[in-house]
Symmetry: C3
Subunit: 408 residues, 3 copies
């Protein structure tokens, strides 16, 4: 473990005696690092080890030390220097070589305005890498496991593309629910403990809310939630906000119309949540009666001073907004009431007329897949931003993978 | 987009004002390249942009410019020089560094004799690379998405091996039909627009005829048809012709016996079609009555001056031919008439006796999988070419991937 | 084929006339190497070709020569020097650059004590590579096909991680049983002959005992058995023995308690078999009556002088053993007798009490997945070795891939 580090400039012995470590729960460990016996003591959870000269290593349960911050701004992986991008961050804690503030990406609530802004800057750099540096080696030697308990090819391909665009490698399981071990009754925790031994980061999609949090609590390597049931899908929330900033140029003072299935869509709920971090935002809710935005989000926005109103007039909302965010009415939520579904579905369509009402600088967004809630005639208009939005998912995921694995 | 290019020797500004572009349908675009707004105008379809000094860039809808031909014979990908193989082509339009004539590979009809010959030369070079350059970097930094709407592991592995043998990377979806978005009703076009954002080339297998053409019309990146329903499977057709040339040494003047299921087999139909491009070819059809070659192909061959005859005597045909191309009787086409299937199936078997009748230089081919229409005793004979034929699929696919991504 | 070799120091012509070769069955070939016609003669099986100066090439049926040992200690792949690790082996036939003694890994019986010891030394080096050399290139340019006829994500990811940790690439098929060709009636042999054309090594999981042996007999490239039905799973057997040596420090003189389903578990059977190669070993069998160890293994151990006894007292056995090897009672073997299953299942649980009886240096092992036959309270104890055991599977598989592809 530690014996693998050899860092000139740091007074670090290859065999450390009496080093101490504190785990994420604040538990304190003491032992002879570098021996087999100590690595066992670190098995249960990830640990940060601090040395007298201020250097820090994050030890992982699989016996690895994925990064080494000596003096706070050098990044090494097991003694090997990690090349990082040259960035200029205003915020010193986001300076090059600093450790990323998050150990895992589990829910939208983890992100504040400052860190969102810093992540978006990295995402912009990722756009440059994707277009100009096809042989990027930023994550060379790193292995991502995509552990998908329900199929979601779009999200999976997006993460895998992100990893490979940065020179990393991928282990894939398209349908982990048939993971023979899960089928035999193995717990998620045991599966995670096995998979973390084979990879450096886990991207997990699960059918149960809270599964990502459980995985992260177990894993000694970073976990990214790629959607857990009715729960969170934080990378979608981030790419939505990133797309608004990219397309409109700012997040403060924007007018956003959320249209369609506001009751069931986790994307619009997360988006409303994240928009509340910005100033002078106004949100319009436009939805069929049966799928109206729920009170918890309305109350939350009110508590944060975000103005909102409900409207039944899509044309009028479209004329006022910077962003018309359309969503699919989710048939699967209507059960046998196909009549209600059909009624809700046809109510608010973004078509050429709606486009006509929109301002020149405004854009149409959609989390995809879409059925006919945006007509195909809209696709050719420069303001149709939904495929660019999908592409932004790539940049956001590249940024998060880079940040979690090698830091700022 | 354009701002990523920096090419000495070409009078090209990083921010171009007033550049013009023509898309594949001849539509004309004018705009300020390099700005976000213009990239939107290019969203709908791929475009070739010509500049006053004769240089050309192919812009892709995902904001990339995959190649840059300056003076017609330099290849750059987003400003990075692409290493290409040294080849000697007689035909100047197939010279090193030239753009490949095809944007996509959709059907056998796209290939004429000259381009087949040039592709086969590249395939020969691919054999050398596969055997002698295990760490080839020809396609390093390129990402292929295999979008298979029906499973075909043989074809999928062949394409993925081809990409990886050239140093490229792969995103895989073994069963895109369960692609959650397709299941939710997303159109093929929308799926393609998402996937093209994550990759540089799409290899698609689909259960519907014409699907590949639709995908290519949508995609801003090259699409290769890996079989679309009862329609086309052009890489199989190419590898068949390549195998004949490799094994027999020529294509003009050959005698080919097509045996087995000639009514349903798309491979024999495509092969007959491609052979009509060569001189003094003679084709023998040997098939059970219920699965005879259809009139459209017979008429086509007649119109091209290709001699053909039908025969019920496999031994006699075998003794005359350079190639005995056996095929599987496709049980799935007989429905409940198992009796007809069983009768057809046992009728023409290539066994030791047929081998005995064949000439020393002749070969047995088969598109695989085979059941018992070629007995296993034939496998050990040097004239059993079917596994070499399968291997040639690798070289043909390596060649096409290379040509579509970095040109001649 | 041979024409690709250019080896200074070896009097080797690029076109050899009259070279001779002997295949694995001792059959003798003579021909003009380097011509297309000879490569056909080598089609059926792998061959070792000896030249007058003592150099050897192993020719593969796909036209490749994966290694070249000139003077017995140089390793080339098709003329390209393979970088190998620096190792110090006592046994001269395990010296760096020597060919690995096995062509395939099919069953535990292939391994004797000396080769196990040498493999374990390579596995230790693999631990170092995995931790300290994230960009290892030991297997750069090599392609592994994982041909899984039944899903086993744990084993598959372990092999794929092993390959990628060494810089190799992977072609995956998660469910080859739906391999359209297998579904259409293609034989395993034909599938192998196709897949060997696309890859350098095949890792196969199959639902039928003996399938791996059949694949190896057909393939011209190495095959690793990743489990074939009720038959063998040799890499699991190796990682179990490796784990005991890693955890306890020795294999001679150890005391091992095998607990749980001893009748159906192939892992405990293989482990008992391999332990018989070491001296002064004692094995305790602790199992419910319905799943007792079968007589064939008991008789085998007796014939090898290995002491064993059966016990019903897990606490007493735990107190005496170096290793408590727990296994899952396999519900699927009980059919409708759920009552018998439930009775067997609850009988021997490793919990805090059993831990309390165990010695300080002893460890608990388990092949995973586990249900509740080890309680989760045990996980935090340093003596819980089962997740380290799973991780050791990675190192063993890295070692075997390296040895089969580039030798010692």
């Amino acid at each position: 473990m530690v014996s693998s580090l050899s860092l000139s400039g740091c007074a670090l012995q290859r065999e450390l005696i009496g080093a101490t470590a504190t785990d994420i729960n604040g538990k304190f460990y003491q032992g002879v690092l570098g021996s087999n016996r100590v690595s066992k003591q670190f098995l249960v959870s990830r640990s940060i080890c601090s040395f007298s000269d201020g250097a820090q290593t994050r030890f992982f349960s699989n016996g690895k030390s994925l990064r080494w911050d000596c003096g706070g701004n050098r990044l090494l992986r097991n003694g090997v220097h990690c090349s990082v991008l040259s960035t200029e961050n205003h915020h010193s804690s986001f300076a090059i070589g600093q450790k990323f503030q998050l150990d895992d990406v589990i829910e939208a609530q983890q992100f504040d305005r400052d860190i969102l802004s810093a992540i978006f800057q990295v995402a912009r750099e990722m756009e440059e890498i994707e277009k100009n540096s096809p042989g990027s080696q930023v994550l060379k030697g790193y292995l991502m496991a995509t552990l998908f308990y329900e199929p979601s090819t779009r999200t999976r391909l997006s993460f895998e593309s992100a990893m490979k665009r940065l020179g990393g490698e991928v282990l894939t399981t398209e349908n982990a629910r048939e993971f023979s071990s899960a089928a035999k009754g193995e717990t998620l925790e045991d599966t995670i403990r096995t998979v973390e031994g084979y990879s450096d980061i886990i991207v997990m999609r699960h059918f149960e809310g809270g599964a990502a949090k459980r995985a992260a609590a177990t894993a000694g390597i970073p976990v990214i939630n790629a959607g857990d049931g009715p729960g969170q899908h934080p990378t979608q929330a981030l790419l939505d906000v990133y797309t608004i900033e990219r397309e409109i140029g700012r997040l403060d003072g924007i007018r956003v119309g959320l249209v369609g299935d506001l009751a069931n869509g986790r994307t619009v709920r997360s988006l409303a949540y994240l928009l509340s971090k910005y100033q002078d935002v106004k949100i319009y809710f436009v939805s069929p009666e049966v799928v109206k935005m729920k009170d918890d989000i309305k109350d939350y926005l009110k508590s944060k001073g975000v103005k909102w109103e409900e409207s039944v007039d899509l044309m009028e909302v479209a004329s006022k907004c910077d962003v018309v965010y359309q969503t699919r009415i989710q048939k699967e939520r209507f059960g046998e009431r196909i009549d209600l579904y059909e009624e809700a579905r046809g109510k608010y369509i973004v078509d050429r007329n709606v486009l006509g009402a929109m301002q020149k600088h405004a854009v149409v967004m959609h989390p995809l897949p879409r059925l006919d809630e945006i007509t195909v005639e809209v696709d050719g208009d420069p303001r149709a931003a939904y495929f660019r939005q999908a592409k932004n998912g790539l940049y956001i995921r590249m940024a998060l993978l880079k940040l979690l694995l090698v830091g700022w």
